[in-house]
C-alpha cells in the first residue's frame, strides 16, 4: 500500500476528525465488548441454552455478514473516489453503502418478526434478551452509520469535506466488525 501526504490539524500526527473517531471507537469496544463477553460468560455457564440458540437462522446471519462486507467494499471505493476528489463516484458509492445498510435492516426486521411470531420475545428467555439487546444495539449503530454517511454525502456533493468519507467509513467498518463476532456467537455456536 503506497501513501500520500495530507494536511493535518492536530499535534498527534493524524487529522483531528480521524483522531476523534478512534477515540469514539475505543469507547464502543467497551460497550459492545462488555455485552458480548458477558453473553459468552453466561452462555458457558448455561449449556442448556443450546435449546434456545437452535432457533436462530444461521443462513440469514451469514447473508447479513456478506451484505455488510460488501457495503464495506463500497465505502472503501467511496474513499478511493474521495481521495481523487471524484465527487460523483464518491456519492454513488456512499449511496450504495447506504442501500446495503438498509437491506441489512430489512432482513433483520424480517428475522425479528419471524422470531417474535414464533414466541421468542425479549422476555421469553435470557438468551433472547441477550440476542435482541445485542442485535438491537448493533442495528441502532447501523442506523447512525446510515445517517452519518448521508450527511457526509451532502458535503461531498458540493465538493467539500472529502476527508469525512474516510472517517464515516472507519465507523462503518467497525460496525461490520461487530457483526463478524455476533454471527458466530449467536448463529453458529449452538
Amino acid at each position: 500500500m503506497s501513501a500520500v501526504a495530507r494536511e493535518i490539524r492536530s499535534n498527534t500526527g493524524i487529522p483531528s476528525g480521524r483522531l476523534a473517531m478512534w477515540l469514539l471507537l475505543s469507547g464502543e469496544i467497551v460497550i459492545f465488548g462488555g455485552l458480548l463477553v458477558s453473553y459468552m460468560m453466561t452462555r458457558v455457564a448455561h449449556p442448556e441454552w443450546a435449546e434456545q440458540t437452535h432457533h436462530t437462522n444461521t443462513l440469514i446471519g451469514g447473508v447479513n455478514a456478506i451484505i455488510l462486507l460488501t457495503s464495506d467494499l463500497f465505502v472503501v471505493m467511496a474513499h478511493a473516489a474521495a481521495q481523487k476528489k471524484d465527487k460523483d463516484n464518491a456519492v454513488k458509492y456512499i449511496y450504495l453503502t447506504i442501500a446495503l445498510g438498509l437491506l441489512f435492516l430489512c432482513i433483520k426486521a424480517f428475522e425479528w418478526t419471524t422470531d417474535i411470531s414464533e414466541g421468542f420475545t425479549l422476555t421469553s428467555h435470557l438468551f433472547w434478551t441477550y440476542y435482541y439487546l445485542t442485535t438491537g444495539i448493533h442495528g441502532a449503530h447501523i442506523v447512525v452509520g446510515i445517517i452519518a454517511l448521508f450527511a457526509v454525502s451532502l458535503g461531498v456533493k458540493k465538493g467539500m469535506n472529502y476527508q469525512r468519507v474516510e472517517i464515516a467509513g472507519i465507523y462503518w467498518h467497525f460496525v461490520d466488525m461487530v457483526w463478524l463476532i455476533v454471527f458466530p456467537l449467536y448463529y453458529i455456536a449452538k
Binding site: A5, R6, I14, G33, V37, V76, P184, L185, A189
Partner: protein, 102 residues
C-alpha cells in the same frame, strides 16, 4: 503533514473476496461438521477477519502505533473487567450471592 493510506481498489476487491470466502467457510463448516468444532472454527475465522478488516479496510496498518495501542487499551479494560468476576460468576454461589435457580 501526515501519512494517509492510498486506497488500491484492485487489492480491496481481493480483500473483500477473501472475507466473503471466510464467511462461506464458516457457514459450510457449520452445515457439514456442526457442534463445538464449527463454533471454534467460526470464532478463529472471526479473528482473521478482524485483522483483515482492521488492517486493510480501516487502514490501521498505516496509522501511528499509538492508535493501535489506544484500541488495545480498551480491550485490556474489558479483560480486567471480566477477569475479576469470571470465576465468581460461573459458580452457583459467589461472594455475597447465590444463583436463584442453579
Amino acid at each position: 503533514m501526515t501519512i494517509e493510506a492510498e486506497v488500491n481498489v484492485k487489492k480491496m476487491f481481493q480483500v473483500w473476496a477473501l472475507l466473503v470466502t471466510l464467511i462461506v467457510l464458516a457457514l459450510v463448516t457449520f452445515l457439514t461438521v456442526g457442534g463445538a468444532v464449527s463454533a471454534q472454527v467460526a470464532l478463529t475465522l472471526t479473528v482473521v477477519e478482524w485483522v483483515i478488516v482492521g488492517g486493510w479496510f480501516m487502514h490501521l496498518n498505516a496509522e501511528p502505533k499509538w492508535v493501535v495501542l489506544l484500541l488495545g487499551l480498551a480491550v485490556l479494560c474489558l479483560v480486567f473487567l471480566f477477569a475479576f468476576s469470571y470465576f465468581d460468576v460461573l459458580n452457583d454461589t459467589g461472594v455475597n450471592w447465590i444463583r436463584f435457580n442453579p
